[in-house]
Amino acid sequence: MSTSESGVLMAPKRSLLNRLGLDRFSALYLWGAFMIIFGLWKPDTFLSMTSAKLVLGENVSTGILALAFLVPFCAATFDLSIGAVMSMSVVTMCFLSDEKARSFNMPVGVAAVITLVVCTLIGAVSGFIVVKLKVNSFIATLGLGQVISAVVLKISFNRQITDVFSKTFVKFGRNQYFGIPVVFFYLAVAGIIIWYVLEHTPVGRFIYATGGNPEAARLAGVKTDRMVWGSLIASSFLAGVAGIVFSAKVGLFTAATGPNYLFPAIAAVFFGASQLKGRPNVAGTFIALYALAFGIKGLQLVVGTDSYWVNPMFQGTTLIIAVSLASQKGLAKMRKRKVQTT
């Protein structure tokens, strides 16, 4: 009697956990929890439209940078240079379109195109180092990132650059449509494009195959070198876009601009990889990005004026907790698999 009772109790317990999907949807639950906790704690500030808009808009550059990290990451390739590439993009924009005629004073459109070309070339170089010189991507892009940072410092004389952009350009960064910051639409468009390529085209399949088992993929006819190289070019291009969006929105350059965005971008990708599909993916990345962003906003409001330390503290702890949860899930999966193979 007692055994059958415990048996009955056991079964729904397991299926309930599965149904709730605490592992695959943990970021969504976390997001919900933040909204409730901080909503109750600071209802007047946290639950206002202003702060929601602020969070939506503030994280667009981080989001695009996260996409930049995501694409090569799907091919098991790291691109750590994207932070430096982003600041390269901002400083190039400032340099080329400076209205005070210290330098080129180009129309913003032309400056943006040149900036993107520069960034794409950097991606081509890192691809060359990884594919042709066969340097591990982690090391190659870490090194190249330092080199680019040096160039950025040289161009900017390590000074803060402000107030260089035309009013029309700034509009591209600060307007709102339907009450939503315009930059958010840029992120959405970029996300949809990357999602489409990764999930619904052969190229996406090839990128994931390269990430899964490069030698097996190569022997199955996937041009793995091209995938790695191409994904590094795409990531630098996207980092360039992140820099241009940042220029339009913030209009300010300091040497810390890019590198400060690198960690949150990587955190969103890693956390996102444990979401939905159990592999790096766009939707998971976005959910993780905004779950973390709303959490940080809430904490900043609670802590008040001394909140400068909140950001890294929160990013770091959540990343570790999230990934450890995911690896617990991986362990459980492995145990299950061992049981199944008799």
């Binding site: 085209t201 399949r205 994931y208 195959a209 899964g212 022997l219 592999r279 199944q340």
Partner: protein, 505 residues
């Protein structure tokens, strides 16, 4: 002989599945006992319960040397003198045999807790010599051959207080060993037998059962079907026990139109271990490649497929194929199933569907978009054609058994409708049922006009499939055996033996 381990009515069930049902099994002192059965028949479960990896269902009765034995407990199994060597050996590849042994037992330290390397080295050397392996114990085990690595794993399992060890259990020790290495391993097993240690081993290679086993236990569908003296069996009766029905291997009856131009033409092939090899294969012809490891048999297909670098001309229907470029070779009509399925074949994190279609994803495209629905339907088609056992086309391929993963690899190649099909050890680690299905598909590919090349260490397999078998030795073709000249398998083995005696002289 005295029975040391006796198991009555052992069962193990997992949620939704009975993996072992009412099994009776015993081990006699100093015997070699083979455990055979198809994938999923329950032999691994039996071993895992013995090893204490799984707890059995209640209701069993187990004795070890006439005392009640707590089965399903790793520590108790160890105390009772049962040792295990698992299929992956569990060695640390980057360090030496000495260190691998010490990892299991601890280093002997001298003054100042300094490791006494000299003593450790001597001890390891002796342990391996006792098993018949005279090897350098100081090089990383990764540099050792397959048999020697297994030897190191056995030596590690047997060290310390050997008088207490009564049973050694080897899980598929020969699964990835070439022929000559199998002989060395069997030599080691015979030595263990003379030391009074009973050896239980799992194998898919039935000829090994007859070579070395005293008794055989056959499992089928989670049940023990029979335990018999090996001498009372012949091959067909053993297969019938394993499969549960009579398996009649189809006999090949192909006629190759010799007037047709060769589909695959290889001229002056050079490369690591390959010395100027030329060959031709016509449409509908199946060419076998036999030879020991290192003879060129193991590198021929990787070189042709572009996995390995090479010199020389390879052409398909007159179109030259560049070296080291698998995607160009595939575009020219070549398809290829690699020998090392886990490393070079499957992409384990991806689904059965993605693994099936990866070599030509574009086929199921509508405009720029991948048509997932069409792709799923195509994969489902292959799953039923090859009777792949999987929950669905979306299941990760890592959840499939080895034989079924191999069928997916076959589907990946066949769906390219290849002009030239290269198969490297196509049925290694695959159970008998799946093996015959794979063979039938090779016949179909040949009937379809493909030129097929199969490299295999299994002479019976080559005899079953091939019209012509080349035997390789030191990177050269030393003999060609054509169907119709008596027993092909015997001829192949004869040449192989002659070759290996050449090599040792």
């Amino acid at each position: 002989m005295a029975k040391i381990l006796h198991i009555w009515s052992l069962s193990k069930s997992f949620p939704g599945q009975v993996a072992l049902q009412d099994a009776t099994f015993d081990v006699e002192e100093g015997e070699v006992h083979a455990l055979v059965g198809q994938n999923g028949s329950g032999k691994s479960t039996l071993i895992k319960v013995l090893a204490g990896f799984h707890k059995p269902d209640p209701g069993h009765n187990v004795t070890m040397r006439d005392e009640v034995f707590e089965i399903g407990d790793a520590a108790a199994a160890h105390r009772a003198g049962i040792r295990f060597v698992h299929q992956d050996l569990g060695l640390v590849e980057a360090v030496s045999a000495v260190e691998n042994l010490a990892l299991g037992f601890g280093y002997r330290t001298g003054f100042g807790r300094r490791i006494n390397w000299k003593k450790e080295t001597l001890k390891t050397k002796q342990a391996l010599l006792d098993l018949g392996f005279d090897i350098d114990v100081r090089v990383p085990v990764a540099a050792l051959g397959g048999a020697a690595r297994t030897g190191v794993a056995i030596a590690r399992a047997l060290q310390e207080s050997e008088q207490n060890i009564s049973i050694l259990i080897l899980d598929e020790p020969t699964a990835s060993l070439p022929g000559a290495d199998v002989d060395r391993l069997f030599d080691a097993i015979r030595r263990l037998k003379t030391r009074g240690i009973a050896v239980v081993f799992v194998s898919h290679h039935l000829e090994e059962v007859f070579e070395i086993a005293d008794r055989v236990t056959v499992l089928r569908d989670a049940k023990v079907v029979a335990t018999v003296e090996a001498s009372d069996l012949d091959m067909s009766s053993l297969i019938e026990l394993i499969v549960g029905r009579k398996v009649t291997a189809a006999t090949v009856n192909r006629s190759i139109d010799q007037t047709l131009e060769p589909r695959l033409r290889v001229e002056d092939l050079w490369g690591p271990g390959m010395n100027d090899v030329s060959l031709e294969v016509r449409p509908g012809e199946v060419l076998g490649v036999a030879g020991l490891t290192g003879s060129g048999r193991d590198t021929l297909i990787p070189m042709l497929s572009g996995a390995m670098e090479r010199l020389g001309n390879v052409s398909i229907d007159g179109v030259a194929i560049r070296a080291g470029n698998p995607s160009a070779a595939i575009a020219a009509g070549l398809a290829f199933v690699p020998a090392d399925r886990l490393r070079n074949g499957i992409i384990s994190m991806m689904s059965v569907r993605s693994n099936t279609t990866i070599a030509n994803v574009g086929r199921n495209k509508t405009g720029l978009r991948l048509n997932h629905k069409k792709e799923r339907a195509e994969t489902q088609d292959w799953i039923s054609q090859l009777s792949v056992v999987t929950t669905s086309s979306e299941a990760p391929i890592s959840t499939l058994s080895g034989g079924n993963q191999q069928k997916v690899m076959m589907a990946r190649s066949f769906r390219l409708d290849p002009k030239v099909l290269l198969l490297d050890e196509p049925t290694q680690g695959v159970d008998i049922g799946a093996k015959e299905e794979i063979h039938t598909f090779v016949d179909a590919a040949a009937a379809n006009g493909s030129a097929v090349v199969i490299a295999s260490t299994d002479s019976a397999e080559l005899a079953r499939l091939c019209d012509r078998v080349i035997v390789m030795h030191r990177g050269q073709i030393v003999d060609t055996i054509v169907r119709g000249e008596g027993s092909m398998a015997q001829s192949i083995d004869k040449v192989l033996l002659a070759g290996s005696s050449l090599a040792t002289n």
